[in-house]
């Protein structure tokens, strides 16, 4: 308990950490599957990001509430259960209100359940901190994730179709690079992006 009080992080710092220093995709290299799968265009990426924020916030809150009741053997099971429940709700919501997106994202919405980011935050943050910190952490992490997804998706969408948010931005003579919307484009763009981030952070250090 004492140590918990000791390294109780400042809210602002927690928030920023999620955005950059501990950005789940760029720095922790977690949750790569949705990152790759849904970033062919910005719109599904954004939807995915929002769903993740929703699940992250809810599960962090619930876990934070339960944190003193958790028993070691069933801890991970509890997390999984909580997350799965909220993912189901998010999935139902998408089906009900954004049917197009739901179809596009397909099984990648339920796959949020096993997205390492969420269990990671439940374990590393929510199970050790109070409601406020957990909430801020969830939002920070979620936004970090969403931002990264959107950047990646805009690069890919731009090159693959010449559009962003389905709006034409490239001049008409531009011939779209179909490969960018294929797995190749996903892997390579993300790889180069991680490389770029590595260079930037190295320089700062």
């Amino acid at each position: 308990m004492a140590s918990e009080a000791l390294d109780k992080p400042a809210l602002g710092q927690t928030f920023i950490a999620g955005l950059w220093n501990e950005n789940p995709v760029l720095r922790l290299v977690l949750g790569m599957c949705p990152t790759l799968a849904v970033t062919a265009a910005v719109r599904p990426a954004l939807t995915m990001g929002c769903s993740v924020i929703f699940v992250l916030v809810c599960s962090n809150l619930v876990v934070s509430l339960m944190r003193n009741l958790l028993k070691p053997h069933l801890r991970i099971l509890m997390f999984t259960l909580t997350i799965a429940a909220f993912v189901t709700i998010a999935d139902l919501f998408l089906k009900a209100f954004l049917p197009e997106m739901s179809e596009r994202l397909g099984p990648y919405v339920p796959l949020i359940i096993v997205n390492c980011i969420i269990i990671c935050r439940a374990e590393a943050c929510a199970s050790k901190n109070g409601l406020a910190v957990s909430l801020v952490d969830a939002i920070g992490m979620g936004l970090g994730f969403t931002m990264t997804l959107c950047v990646l998706a805009s690069v890919r969408e731009l090159l693959a179709t010449g559009k962003i948010f389905e709006q034409q931005v490239m001049p008409a003579v531009f011939v779209p690079w179909a490969a960018m919307s294929m797995p190749v484009g996903a892997f390579i763009t993300l790889g180069l992006m991680l490389g770029l981030v590595n260079t930037i952070t190295k320089k700062k250090a």
Partner: protein, 206 residues
């Protein structure tokens, strides 16, 4: 006894929360399931309306019609009847599935009220390669099916895609996907026409 006590000590939280979450999901489902079902119907209806211009409302003309697949399997599909404002049958539509270049292709196919002409198709779901197979959605390909005679179609590599007949000109570079679409048409049309004509749902343009 102490075992049971131990058990509850350890896992009451899990049990209670599973129940709680079960309820939560069920409530969400109960609240939104109608919308979800409605969404699907809306989408189908929208596509069917696109195909059958005069359609005003739809009803089910035949349920679970069995279509003999090429893989010796049997697939079932519903046939919907489109009615115009005055209640006349203006066409029929059904959902058809077949394998494309990469994955399954799901189409909505429409025929006219007498089941003599196709009214075209819309892609409900497909996973074809962007830039290749996904051109089946493009109008220059799909418009070839509009008003084509409702019978066996044929895929040709070269020809006039403006001419409306039973010859469908393949998309260059995506012969396979084009072929898949034509094949879906051919798989379904005989059974559907037979069904409609023998069951008497078609032709009595009332």
């Amino acid at each position: 006894m102490s075992n049971i006590k131990h058990f509850f000590e350890q896992s009451w939280l899990l049990i209670v929360s599973s129940f709680f979450f079960g309820l939560l999901i069920a409530v969400a489902n109960a609240a939104w399931s109608e919308r979800i079902v409605q969404n699907e119907i809306d989408k189908r209806n929208r596509l069917m309306t696109d195909l059958i211009a005069d359609a005003n409302s739809f009803d089910v003309a035949a349920q679970a019609v069995e279509i003999p697949d090429t893989k010796a399997k049997v697939v079932k599909t519903d046939i919907y009847r489109a009615l115009d404002g005055s209640g006349r049958t203006v066409g029929f539509a059904f959902i058809a599935v077949g394998s494309g270049f990469q994955d399954k292709i799901k189409l909505v196919i429409a025929v006219d009220g007498k089941c003599e002409k196709f009214l075209g198709f819309k892609v409900l779901a497909s996973n074809e390669t962007p830039g290749f197979g996904d051109k089946i959605k493009d109008s220059y390909f799909s418009s070839q099916f509009r008003d084509a005679p409702a019978g066996k179609l044929q895929l040709v590599k070269t020809g006039d895609d403006k001419k409306i007949d039973s010859e469908i000109v393949a998309i260059s570079g995506a012969t396979v996907s084009s072929e898949a679409v034509v094949k879906i048409f051919n798989t379904y049309i005989d059974t559907v026409r037979e069904h409609l004509q023998t069951k008497g749902s078609a032709g009595n343009g009332k």
